[in-house]
Amino acid sequence: MRLELGKVLIKDVQFGDTTKLENGVLTVNKEELIDLILEDEHLASAELDIAKPGESVRITPVKDVVEPRVKVEGPGGVFPGILSKVDVVGSGKTNVLKGCTVMTTGKIVGFQEGIVDMTGPGADYTPFSETINLVLKCEPQEGLKQHEHEKAVRFAGFKAAAYIAETAKNLVPDEVEVYETDTLLEGIKKYPELPKVGYVQMLQTQGLLHDTYVYGVDAKQIVPTIMYPTECMDGAIVSGNCVSACDKNTTYHHLNNPVVHDLYKQHGKTLNFVGVIITNENVYLADKERSSNMSAKLAEYLGLDGAVVSQEGFGNPDTDLIMNTKKLEAKGIKTVIITDEYAGRDGASQSLADADPSANAVVTGGNANEVIVLPKMDKVIGSLDYVDIIAGGFDGSLAEDGTITVEIQAITGATNEVGFNKMSTKGF
């Protein structure tokens, strides 16, 4: 499977009469996009704003972040099974609006949405302080139940991203990257000397604000399966979760999965990247056993010599992580796991809820309990009403002068476990 990813570099985003993309400047017709979003009867209102890197802007509570992409050639469309038909995606040509996102906010669904600061110390912890964000604030109809509310806002993000991305359908991209994966047997024939490496991606699947969707299927309902690495680049996997926003994958993370990209960089050189195994993180023990059995079995069947295993979340999913690792290692498949830590605000507690000696190669995204002081920003998009109660906040997090003292777990993407960031942790 071969995908050409065309990057259209976005220099600026502005509002205007016509939605268009010219010379790297994206213009958005506010009314037209809001009308589209409000076609969903579950939503009472929608507003649009733009947040740029370096501006004194705070966005909260952030639910999802989506990168606009459009299918130019090849089967299917972006977000198959959700916005497009369920064709298999990941081949042909896709254009990306690089440097901008659609970010969703609005009334809180749970306790769990995140914070994005466009400047100041908090900006260092989130990748979305470096993108121009078209922020979509959606408010639900009164009385709308939490699950429906979450779904409506989730879809609003995808629709807005797809609407914007249409502007790039016929553009010649500034940069083109090509990703190609052979079928298993051809790949092994081509690189007989190289170790066969897979990527075991664990998807958060624990219920409201903890869900992930694969080709439109709630990933709670899947058994682990095999995917070509390029499928995720067309939106085969999307996020429905942001609980403890620091270590949840937004849709942006899935579209730009850095493990996939970094394994491709080594593909044909130091390793043969044969494919991705996706698995879930359900709450029932039987599900955990079944899914970890299946992913280890698939890895064995593919003949893997090694695998990168990425977790999503913490605590309960630590058990899934350790089960996957133990079972892979027991089959002689060498693993490196990517996780994050909850070592307490003082960093002195043990970091994981489960452990095993076979998990002897660990990459960490950081200690999510570490506390940060976020100075007041001139402008807030969304609302500060929830800062004390979101995960990572506490009674008194929001000071009268607008300063926020929170654990970094409240910052969207701060301790990401697909390894999106540079942060790590050292023992002192």
């Binding site: 306790f111 769990q112 170790p195 490496v197 219920g207 409201l208 903890h210 609980v243 403890s244 493990v259 990209h261 970094d262 080594q266 130091t270 390793l271 010599d305 695998a307 990425s310 605590g315 309960n316 060498k334 490196v336 990517i338 830590e341 909850y342 307490g344 960093g347 002195a348 507690s349 043990q350 970091s351 994981l352 000696p357 002897n360 190669a361 660990v362 990459v363 995204g365 950081g366 200690n367 999510a368 109660i389 995960a391 990572g392 506490f394 009674d395 654990e407 777990q409 476990e417 697909v418 390894g419 999106f420 960031n421 540079k422 942060m423 790590s424 942790t425 050292k426 023992g427 002192f428």
Partner: protein, 349 residues
């Protein structure tokens, strides 16, 4: 600037009193420098001065720890030092334990910077390295020069209140304090690099060594449930509606104790979950799903259990540090025992 005043602790051997035959030597304080103190004195130059040296027999200390500690505490306090150093103890087990214990005591009770040094397999290392700065030394006195060369600069840094670098930079044994920093490469690239090395059989360094858990042995089962007093404790975050104690949705710093006298059934109107780590819809619809008050009341009526304890305890087990959880458990279990509770139903989510 005034010289930094140091008190130094050594054992009977390094104090020149004698070997094993003198290991029962009681604590003694002498003015000025003794034994390995000479090497520290040379390393400190004019910046610090060892004003007193405490000498204590290793057996005496380990067999009379409370008395020894109390006596040594008074000796140190008298000198009002700015800094305390014990050892280095190398691989001498009882010396290591004494050095660790005294260092920890000085640091906690006198609130002054303190450090020690010993071989990493010294039993004192495992016991005290979490709480104090402990420089890793060789396993015998052959390593004295090397030990002082690492301990002296770290001691001065501590005394001056300067920032202390990582274990690799400063030479101390890792205390298990996790601190964030920004690495050069992103996590995914570090993971791929690590895997390539692991596959090639090359050396690699994990970023987190697996912790060892302290497992709790379950108590023997209760034989007479019909007369047992049962309490509920949960990390599922069930609280009276409105979360009156403002228990955090994640990383809880507290727990709540709530009266359920006269309540047979928890409902959407009376209770909810404060937990931010699970889908709250089903817990909020019927909080009995998380803490089975309704079923326990039935069992109480049917005589299957003796009594449901009047209070239940609740916290949020979502990203909550083990140290906090342990603290809550100690306080809660003391109260439960005092209230004559025989067994606890512990629910999590």
């Amino acid at each position: 600037m005034a010289k930094i005043k140091v008190v130094h602790y050594i054992n009977q051997f390094y104090g020149g009193i004698g070997g094993e035959e003198k290991a029962d030597y009681k604590p003694e304080v002498i003015e000025g420098v003794k034994g390995p103190g000479m090497a520290f004195k040379a390393a400190f130059k004019d910046e610090a001065e060892i004003v007193a040296t405490i000498i204590c027999g290793d057996s005496y200390f380990n067999e009379n720890m409370d008395e020894a500690k109390a006596a040594i505490f008074e000796m140190i306090k008298k000198y009002e030092p700015d800094l305390f150093i014990a050892g280095p103890a190398f691989n001498a087990g009882r010396y290591g334990v004494a050095a660790g214990a005294v260092t920890e005591m000085v640091q906690t009770e006198l609130g002054i910077p303190a450090l020690t040094g010993m071989y990493e397999e010294n039993p004192g290392a495992d016991m005290y390295k979490k709480g104090v700065y402990m420089v890793a030394t060789k396993n015998s006195a052959v390593g004295m020069k090397d030990a002082v060369a690492k301990m002296a600069p770290l001691a001065l840094k501590l005394a001056r209140g300067e920032e202390i670098g990582s274990p690799e930079e400063e030479g101390y044994l890792e205390r298990g304090i996790r601190k964030n920093y920004f690495a050069e490469k992103r996590g995914s690239e570090r993971a791929v690099d690590m895997l390539v090395k692991k596959l090639a059989g090359e050396e690699y360094k994990t970023e987190y060594s697996m912790p060892t858990f302290d497992r709790v042995e379950p108590n023997p089962p209760i034989k007479d449930m019909a007369n047992a007093k049962i309490a509920i404790v949960t990390s599922g975050g069930i609280v009276p509606k409105g979360n009156p104690d403002h228990i955090e949705s994640s990383s809880a710093s507290k727990y709540g104790k709530y009266d359920i006298e006269g309540i047979d059934n928890l409902t959407e109107e009376t209770h909810e979950t404060a937990h931010g780590g699970h889908d709250p819809v089903y817990a909020n619809n019927d909080p009995d799903r998380v803490i089975p008050v309704d079923v326990l009341r039935d069992m109480e009526k049917e005589g299957k259990i003796g009594e449901l304890h009047r209070y239940y305890y609740s916290t949020v087990g979502n990203g909550t540090a083990v140290a906090n959880a342990k603290k809550f458990a100690e306080a809660i279990s003391a109260e439960l025992v005092a209230d004559g509770v025989d067994a606890v139903i512990l629910t999590s989510t």
